[in-house]
Symmetry: C2
Subunit: 448 residues, 2 copies
């Protein structure tokens, strides 16, 4: 995790320059760095530094750096610019990146920026903008090279020489028919190494299906991952070519998706690591409030058993153990399910099997730790009945944890509620309530 | 999250065939699917189905499918095969994938498989095998096309036509000098579109630095992400070219890294979603045991205050709230830190700032919810003193949560302990102990 031996000494020089606050030096070093590296440096700096670093960039580099920033920082960096300045920045980017940026601006500003652009570019952009950014259409770039199947490779090669500029991440040329329908792909490596006299039709790949523009971004990512694609064509319902998606945008989707599972389980909205206090505090407050409400529910369960606790204070000492173990086991099951959902592994064929497996894991671990806690509690308080009670409660709560941890996210997804965000709080509420109820309820029966 | 409208109807046909158990049909459909899709189907099936599905594949497809399986399933699928059968499978794969597989086999078996291979291939493989699979050297393929800078593009083109096979994901040819040292990259798109008479030297890219073979895999992934690379050359300390890394292997690293943060926080080892009960239960049992130990620590804190609880039973009702809120707040801070560490954002320049920010967020949210819980508790139990006590305890615990949630992972990383795995249990232990101690301790002072 530490900086590797050979990471460009630029970073070290930059560290020194930043520390000694010689801005001229910093600007010089930044100018030599790739846009991605500068964006990384900015996003891993506290807020005060960020504006300073951005301000040191030349306009052309700034556009590329802004493009590489995480969504939230990018919006902040562009927030109060004039439409003309925005148009200048976006003109240097790929159209899928431009669409990303325009999607985040207020509609009015987007209209003003579009109005400045030339007609042809605007039309291309509007094609991408008509899709939301979480489907294939919103990820695509319209900057593609298309060819016909009846050409010879020689003609293709000559066409490419005239065309002169091949868009980045072009591994395949896209073969379309007279009506612009997708037909197949021709690897540019094939153009390089094959006999120039053969036709595109003979050499093209036809077994890579095109992606429908309405396919969810997460499904696009999974198909890229499974098939090791560098790029893939995007078509409309009629099979007409609209554009192509490249791996660099897919990597961003994968990263964001993984990030979403991780942060949602902790009740965090997508949060900038270095957001200032006044941004972070209110966002997290909501989740704490939800948790306070559920904690009060659990407390009201305890409240019912006040008399029993008064009689046997050891119950108050031991009751958090039962709840806590249930919470851990439930979160384990939930995490397994959330991860599997993110990878698209859950379907009608296997979900009941999974709920059964998780309940059974809960039962087995419940038995194991019930024995351990029974012995511990009996010895600690010199009361074997207490041991029996806590063992039963532990067993009940761990089975509940497995069942709920697996069943709830499946139910939530059916109800179209985000299982990662709602699941965490619901599962621990269930295990808290069940833990207190089982333990204190059984105790009330035994100690009457 | 649901299956998109246009996912190949193959899947639906397969569903029907699987349900009606007509294995001949299943085999027919599998033969048409890409190895990645078959691997996905297998990994999202319960254990019983997996062996059946694998058994239906033709030998050649099987090799490619096995290669696409997650590590754990792959090991299981290859576990009891003869060295000859293994050699036959790996011969069809890229050498970085072969190295991956051989890394997981027992040393003895690896030796036997290597002995079957031809001399030249074995030497290439051993170069990759000499690196562990979590550094650049272990991710690389030695299957590269290298050229000299003084050639003309025309010569390169003719060379490629003779060479005939370009390895997958080749976007650049690698330019080396007489001593095999890395000099630069030549995009194959450039070869296609440029004047054949110009030299490689004039057209090559020299601003993409090569990756040292000892660079950690996670750092490799970050550099690919930041710079949108498709492939990157790998060199030794002297700058000599060893091989190249391609984006498909980097995507796997990104996925595994994200997976690690998610599962570790829940105390799960990398676990197959559909692992049978007898595999899952023992793995999770360990974490539950650790949690039981820490829960007993928290209980022993409560135990100290038995007399106070006996006097005011309302304390037992309310005490889980303070602990629970601390646990949530601490997990939020911890998750932010774990995610930032995975993205390589944490360094000496910003870690103190982050600990400060998290503590301050804890303070602000502590104040907010302290007021709410104070009013609630006072009204519920008709005792304003109880309100004051729980408010103070809540404030103390949320500041502790922010400070510990940010500080502990930084400390753990310094001690070279995995912050994601150890962090979760330690942070909640601290917030549980502090929650009970602050609340019951203050109560003991007030209710003397």
């Amino acid at each position: 995790m530490n900086s590797p031996a050979n990471f460009p000494t630029k970073t070290e020089r930059l560290d020194i320059a930043l520390r000694s606050r010689t801005l001229g030096d910093v600007a010089g070093i930044l100018a030599e760095m790739s846009p991605g590296d500068v964006a990384y440096l900015i996003s891993s700096s506290p807020p005060d530094y960020r504006a300073v670093l951005l301000g040191l960039l030349e306009p052309e580099q700034e556009a590329l750096v802004v493009n590489e920033l995480p969504d939230e920082l990018r919006s902040a960096a562009l927030a109060d610019r004039e439409p003309e300045a925005l148009a200048e920045i976006v003109e240097q980017l790929d159209d899928d990146d431009v669409a990303d940026i325009l999607h985040e601006l207020p509609d009015e500003v987007t209209g003003q920026v579009l109005a400045i652009m030339d007609e042809q570019y605007r039309q291309r952009l509007q094609k991408v903008l008509s899709f939301s950014d979480d489907v294939a259409g919103g990820l695509m770039s319209t900057d593609t090279i298309t060819i016909r199947a009846d050409l010879t490779l020689d003609v293709v090669l000559r066409y490419l020489r005239r065309h002169a500029e091949i868009p980045p991440n072009t591994d395949n040329l896209i073969v379309v028919n007279r009506n612009d329908r997708f037909v197949g792909l021709l690897a540019i490596a094939t153009v390089l190494v094959s006999d120039p006299a053969v036709s595109v039709r003979e050499m093209m790949i036809t077994d890579q299906e095109a992606i429908n523009a309405d396919t969810p971004a997460t499904e696009v990512a999974r198909r890229f991952e499974r098939n090791d694609w560098i790029s893939a064509p995007v078509v409309d319902d009629a099979g007409k070519l609209l554009g192509r998606i490249t791996i660099d945008d897919v990597v961003d989707v994968i990263r964001e998706e993984a990030d979403h599972s991780l942060t949602s389980l902790a009740g965090l909205a997508e949060e900038d690591t270095f957001a200032p206090v006044w941004q972070s505090a209110p966002r997290r407050a909501i989740w704490l409030g939800v948790n306070l409400a559920t904690a009060l529910v659990a407390s009201s369960v305890i409240n019912v058993f006040q008399d029993t606790i008064e009689k046997v204070v050891a119950l108050a000492v031991l009751m958090p153990i039962v709840a806590s173990m249930g919470g851990i086991a439930g979160t384990q099951s939930l995490t397994i399910l959330i991860r599997a959902m993110a990878m698209g592994q859950i379907n009608d064929r296997n979900q009941l099997w999974l709920i059964g497996r998780e309940s059974l894991v809960g039962l087995i671990n419940g038995l194991l730790w019930a024995v351990v806690i029974a012995v511990t509690a009996s010895v600690w308080f010199g009361d074997p009945i207490l041991g029996v009670i806590i063992a039963c409660a532990m067993l009940i709560n761990l089975v509940t944890a497995g069942f709920t941890g697996a069943g709830l996210p499946i139910l939530l997804r059916k109800l179209r509620v985000d299982p990662a965000l709602a699941g965490g709080v619901l599962v621990t509420t269930v295990t808290d309530v069940m833990g207190f109820l089982a333990f204190l309820g059984l105790a009330t029966l035994f100690y009457r």
